[in-house]
């Protein structure tokens, strides 16, 4: 590879310098700087491109003709006079299909030149979604990108997966790298250790209103330049910059309301008790007598509609003020934002205050620099949604859940039950995150063919959280939330530093070939330090301080990860229709064993714009074919190698500190993971760009997967970090667009994307039959498991099934077509061995967006869907165990179960579904729903497809005539609605919600997650 670099460098041999140096800035007609504009002195080989801020410098003599060309813009020729500065404003060229995308290191490139698929969305498409979380705003907009909101809690994380998961490790981050203005940032989600609280992914710290555009780099080809951290792709975020010209001020304000978007159907007939008998102290909320009958004896006894009372109307407010401006030498942008969100579960909240300032300076013809700093403070009260919903499950439907607190402040309860609202109010978890993301960058062009660029970035945050569960107040007869109470203080400091230096060498070889070579190195370091102190058993009730507790436990977790990378990137452009891109990178990671910590991976891609090569019919506006082959490596977490010992945090005890060997063992011969991907695609535009289409096929194989393989505890360890498998992802992506009405007052643009993904666990380590990714509780043998088995797909959910006649005992899959075996007692029999009941990775995802405008009105409608996906509905499992489902109304019926007896003969036995002594004199115990139905996972792994109205926005821009009479330059009013379920076969809360949070890969379980919401917004945008 080194030889290749040298050869490439040698290409830049002849360089001439003459006359004066012309500098200037290239913008579009609105003043936005245009990066990557190619500038050539006509008739010579001298050429350059503008930098990220649109600046350029080129040697020319008087009388030379400078050619400015840029895809999507009309080419401009300017002749050099005696001036040294030539600023150019380029006009859009409707004739060309022009699109610029920002790729690695913030380098803007013509999409035309790229040999791989990339999709970009602009500021309007981001803010229009009204998502406070930047990740969620991509939902449905980009092909091959699956965004899943983990729930409806304020600030709750959203998960982004590009083209399927690459790492099988249950805890591995399969999400892309997030890069803000060329600097990678942390997007991890740190869940609460003790109870599910719906924490945030860290990209939520960024105010979406500050974002100018987001590009999604999907394949390994697109990300070879970022190295291991971008092995899952990259989301390149470009923030808003100041523009030369008039200083503008804008103010956006928005208010939104939200409620549940979907809910399970529940029975309202039977109330508290067991065996069909009412019992006001019973733990059982819904196995008792009909509520109506009990009401005849107990006045006021009624169905309390607790499931309505348990959820409030959520409120969001979002305000951003920004100012930007500048002149030819300097530009600036500053903004201040505040977002507040109160969730549908009482006492849940999250807010974010953000401030950003950025600027750029052209210091001389050869030197320019920019800097940006973004501060944010975010956090809220994270309610324990799991226990909230679990306690809702147990709460009797005839007791008002809102009647939860006594005058003395203790909980209103019965039969040792915990009131969910009391718990949500007093069992608090507050996080407070302060974060600074900043970068400085310098560009120096000693000669026009050479630019030296340096960028230093940091992402620093402190995450301070306090969890409190009160103990007893010392009041007789109280039922406290905990017998001791506890307080946990957690402090996290995380600091990323990214240093990136590269050279850009531009050359023109003859008239037909231009080349750009980048050579560079980057260094990354993350230092992370967590300190957790837990105090248990408050001495003085209701005084919440660590010093006021009888037992204190402290634990500390530190880590450091360093990466050093060297890379080269050569782009060759032949006659503006053939583009070849070669990259190579060598990474060194501190996390791998010394002998295996250096690894090289190359990529090559080719773009061929055949419409620029051959004369095509007039209607065939644009056509490109592309192909790429790429590899990318991946390291592991820091400090996982070998065996270590730990002192459990209960020590010291009696002055003694004990040690235990950690149950995780890291393979000392661990190798980096290697993903190899190929991609083929075509991009077409027809009928004067009225219709455009982009289709991509991809296949990637990630081998030498680093997985903490769960191993038998008897081995001396419980998990073994080793290279243990290979996963293959393949699929296609289709993007279609059409200007249905383009000319005239009424405009209609439709765009759609559709993606299909297939994956298979190609291999797992010899001797290991399966690797458990995660499991979730189900009653009486209905616990489900996500596990990896060779030859099967990632995302499979395994669980118990009905026994079936003629079933293959070795079958892995559910054999739903075979008749169910009915036992001698007349009830279906359970097969406890786990089988594949579904798959949690949607095979199909897609979105359709229609944008209409008529004069000052505009309407945007975005619908997205996912299909061929299943999830374990833990809610349903619980509801059936507690007699709350509508189907459990069939509790006093007789039924002959459809199926056959063990000998194959049809079942004819009639059995009663109720509890206790049946009308037939037989004792049915806890009854069909508890004894049989809830024990079979098959009943609860359900189709989780949906079609959602992701966003609909109706906007009105006030006419000039009105604006003229106001202090504003512009005023826009819009109404929007989000996340409305149009169709789903799912019976439950929003099927999109899942319990693992964005950080984990155990996605197939709803848990008792925070239910999804639909929301409605009113927004005003003022321009000054």
């Amino acid at each position: 590879m080194r030889n290749l670099f040298l050869t490439c460098v040698a290409l830049f041999s002849v360089m001439a310098a003459s006359g004066q140096t012309i500098t200037g800035k290239v913008t579009d007609t609105s003043g936005t700087p245009l990066p990557g504009v190619s500038i050539v002195v006509d008739g010579t080989t001298r050429g350059t491109t503008t930098d990220f801020d649109g600046n350029y410098a080129i040697a020319a003599t008087q009388g030379d003709l400078l050619q400015f060309s840029y895809l999507g813009m009309k080419t401009i020729e300017v002749s050099v006079g005696n001036q040294n500065t030539v600023n150019v404003a380029m006009e859009e060229d409707a004739e060309q299909l022009g699109e610029v995308v920002v790729t690695a290191f913030g380098i803007a490139q013509e999409k035309k030149s790229l040999g791989y698929a990339v999709q970009s969305i602009d500021a309007e498409s981001i803010t229009q979604t009204k998502q406070a979380n930047l990740v969620s705003s991509l939902q449905g907009q980009v092909a091959g990108v699956q965004i899943t909101n983990s729930g409806g809690a304020p600030g709750q994380s959203a998960r982004i997966i590009i083209r399927g998961v690459n790492s099988l490790d249950p805890a591995a981050d399969n999400q892309p790298l997030f890069v803000v203005d060329g600097v990678p940032i942390d997007n991890s989600t740190i869940e609460s250790a003790s109870s599910a609280r719906g924490m945030s992914n860290r990209a939520a710290d960024i105010n979406p209103a500050d974002v100018e555009s987001m590009s999604v780099l999907k394949g390994a080809a697109a990300t070879a330049l970022y190295g291991v951290r971008a092995a899952n792709g990259a989301v390149i975020i470009t923030t808003k910059k100041g523009k030369a010209g008039k200083t503008t001020l804008s103010f956006n304000t928005s208010v939104g309301f939200e409620d549940l978007n979907h809910r399970p159907v529940m029975q309202k007939k039977y109330g508290q008790g067991f065996n069909g008998e009412y019992d006001g102290d019973s733990f059982w909320p819904s196995w008792g007598a009909p509520i109506e009958e009990v009401a005849k004896i107990i006045p006021g006894h009624k169905y309390e509609n607790n499931w309505d009372k348990a959820f409030e109307t959520g409120v969001q407010t979002d305000n951003t003020v920004s100012i930007s401006g500048g002149n030819e030498k300097t530009t600036f942008y500053a903004s201040l934002g505040r977002f507040d969100h109160k969730g549908i579960i009482p006492y849940s909240s999250w807010d974010r205050t953000s401030a950003k300032i950025s600027g750029s300076v052209i210091l001389s013809d050869k030197f320019n620099m920019g800097a940006s700093v973004n501060f944010s403070n975010s956090g809220g009260n994270r309610v324990p949604h799991d226990s909230y919903l679990e306690n809702m499950m147990y709460w009797a439907e005839t007791r008002d859940v809102r009647d939860y607190i006594k005058e003395d402040g203790t909980m209103v309860s019965y039969g040792a039950n915990t009131n969910p609202i009391y718990q949500a109010r007093f069992s608090t978890y507050k996080d407070d995150v302060n974060r600074v993301i900043g970068n400085v960058n310098f560009n120096y062009s000693p000669w026009e063919w050479l630019t030296l660029s340096y960028r230093l970035g940091t992402d620093y945050y402190s995450d301070s959280s306090t969890e409190i569960t009160p103990g007893p107040k010392g009041i007789d007869g109280e039922e406290p939330l905990s017998s001791t109470g506890y307080i946990e203080e957690r402090r996290i400091n995380s600091r990323d530093i990214n240093s990136n230096f590269y050279l850009t060498l531009n050359n023109k070889i003859g008239n037909d070939l231009t080349s750009t070579l980048r050579l560079g190195s980057d260094v990354f370091e993350r230092k992370y330090d967590r300190l957790t102190s837990t105090g248990v058993d408050f001495v003085i009730p209701e005084f919440y301080n660590l010093n006021n507790t009888n037992q204190i436990f402290t634990s500390q977790g530190k880590s450091i990860r360093r990466l050093v990378g060297f890379y080269g990137d050569l782009m060759l452009n032949y006659k503006e229709y053939l583009y070849l891109n070669l990259t190579g990178r060598n990474d060194l990671s501190s996390t791998l064993p010394k002998d295996n910590n250096s690894f090289f991976y190359p990529s090559v891609n080719l773009g061929y714009v055949f419409t620029d090569h051959f004369e095509m019919p007039k209607w065939f506006t644009f056509g490109k074919l592309r192909a790429s082959w790429a590899q990318v490596g991946k390291d592991t977490d820091p400090h996982v190698l070998g065996a270590t010992f730990a002192a459990p945090d209960r020590y010291p005890l009696g002055g003694q500190v004990g040690f235990t060997r950690n149950s995780s063992f890291g393979d000392p011969m661990l190798k980096p993971e290697l993903t190899t991907s190929v991609e083929f695609g075509a991009q077409l535009a027809l009928f004067d760009n009225r219709f455009d289409m982009d289709i991509t096929y991809y296949k990637s194989n990630a081998k030498d997967q680093i997985i903490p393989v769960p191993v038998s505890d008897a081995t001396g360890f419980s998990s073994y970090f080793t290279n243990a498998g290979e996963i293959e992802n393949s699929g296609f992506e289709l993007v279609l667009g059409a200007h249905i009405f383009r000319d005239g007052d009424f405009k209609w643009r439709a765009s759609a994307n559709l993606s299909m993904n297939n994956n298979e666990v190609v291999a797992i380590r010899e001797g290991i039959e399966e690797i458990v990714v995660g499991s979730q509780f189900g009653y009486a043998g209905s616990t489900v498991t996500m596990k990896l088995i060779k030859g099967e797909a990632f995302g499979n959910i395994y669980g118990s099934t009905y026994q079936r006649y003629g079933s293959d005992p070795d079958a892995l899959h559910l054999e739903g077509h075979l008749p169910i075996i009915i036992g001698a007692n007349g009830f279906p029999e359970q097969n406890g061995g786990q089988r594949i009941l579904g798959n949690a990775v949607p095979k199909w995802i897609g979105g359709l967006r229609n944008e209409f405008s008529y004069k000052n009105w505009d309407l945007s409608v975005m619908v997205d869907f996912r299909a061929d996906v299943e999830q374990y509905n833990q809610f349903d499992n619980f509801f059936s165990a507690f007699g709350k489902t509508s189907y459990s109304l069939a509790r006093n019926d007789f039924r002959v179960f459809d199926g056959v007896l063990a000998d194959g003969s049809p079942n004819t036995q009639s059995v009663w579904l109720g509890q206790g002594m049946g009308p037939d004199g037989r004792d049915y115990g806890a009854g069909y729903w508890r004894n049989y139905y809830r024990t079979i996972s098959e009943n609860f792994v359900q189709d989780a497809s949906f079609v959602k109205l992701r966003n609909i926005t109706l906007g009105y821009n006030m006419p000039e005539s009105f604006i003229a009479r106001t202090p504003f330059n512009s005023l826009r009013i819009s109404l929007a609605a989000n996340n409305i379920i149009l169709y789903t076969p799912w019976d439950g809360f929003d099927p999109e919600s899942f319990s693992a949070g964005a950080g984990g890969n155990a996605i197939g379980f709803t848990g008792l997650g925070f239910p999804g919401t639909q929301s409605y917004f009113l927004t005003f945008n003022f321009g000054l």
């Binding site: 040792a416 037992q551 060297f566 459990p648 003694q656 004990g658 001396g716 001797g767």
Partner: protein, 464 residues
Amino acid sequence: MTNKIIKCMGLVLAFFTVSCDSYLDVNENPNNPEDAPISGLMINTTYESAYNVFRVGDITSFFVQYLASPNPGTATDTMEPVSHNVTWFNLFNAMTDIQVLMEKAEAQGASHYQGAAQILMAFNLGMAVDIFGDLPITEGFTFETVTPAYDDDAELYAMVMDLLDEGLANLGRATSVSIGDDDFIYQGSISQWVAFGHTLKARFLLHSGGSATEILQAVDNGFQSNADNASVSFFDQAVNPWYDIARDNASLLLGGWISEQFVEALDGTSYPVADPRLALMIGATDDDTYVGTTNGTGRGNAPEQGARSTLVPGQYYTSVTSPVLMATYSELKFIEAEASFATDRPRAYQAYLEGIAAHMEMLGVPQGEMDSYLADPSVGMGEASLTLADIFKEKYVALFLHPETWNDARRFDYQYRDMDLPGNLNPDLNGQFIRRLPYPDNEISRNGGNVPNVTLLDRIFWDE
């Protein structure tokens, strides 16, 4: 110029490559050391071994009906196949640390540490075999394979015996390092470790049908008084786990409810005499009576507090710093009574009475009450009338909450007076009592090719 660039870049690359090595050398774990002292392992393995007694006892106490769930149909009450992943993990985690301790102690010539570790290994391994049967041991601990094969339970018992013999031998040798306060059980008293080793030999020989001579020889070398009891006392910082349950229950996080079987065995219902220990072991109702809960059917109409007996904070078994008992003098006396029952009835009767007295002394029963209990004709029936059932009954009381009682129950075929199957019994048991724990889901998932296929009615070898 290009040459210069190439040279420069070459230099820069070379510079980076050299400095990279040290820059990247930051992967040593900053949180956890790569080695631990034998003393630290001794501290934790003694602590965890005692805690394992609680963990197992918290399962078996429902089977032998010391405890009952306040709710109907709870899985441990009704003997359903509950997957005890955590208990399995903790048994093996303790044994792993003990294995490391044994190896390190041997390497250092610390014979006493090695001997004590071997006794702890025998203790945990024997307890694990008694509940699970076959286990993956000989291919275990050393990470030679990720799917260790299972050893036959009878062979594992032979291994337990060997460990005890070797441990006793090592305790008798000179040691390079002496055990001290890092030993949470005996604070370094080697003679008591030796007595513990012999007591365990007696316990395991009794299960596996050892001869009376063998057992009684071990008994003779075992505990001489309650002062020798093997136990770990808990701490303000790490409270006794039974206390924790009692405290939670007092705050209406229900648990630690006493089975009707246990209450009626002591309150004069099943037997003619009221046992003075009852009030020292469990809590009374608001009416100052003792009312148990029937296993499997829950508390019925009883409120969550005040109407049923439960563990309550502050008693012998349930104070903050209460010991968790691993083996007691009292147990040894009942072993002696059973072993000599056929051959030496006077010895058996004497040991039986001493076993009761030892437990009563441990609880602090006043001498007068103790004397009158022992004098009651249903207790002090005289050696001619002593039956094995009497021994089992008194051992049942004396080993309250201890896992050993489930071993006794299975050997005794659950023939305790008035002991009935729990309500809502797991239908797969066909009306019989549970005979073993199922292998936990984690182990089946990770080592499925080796895990024996068993039902809850398949017996451990010594129960066949």
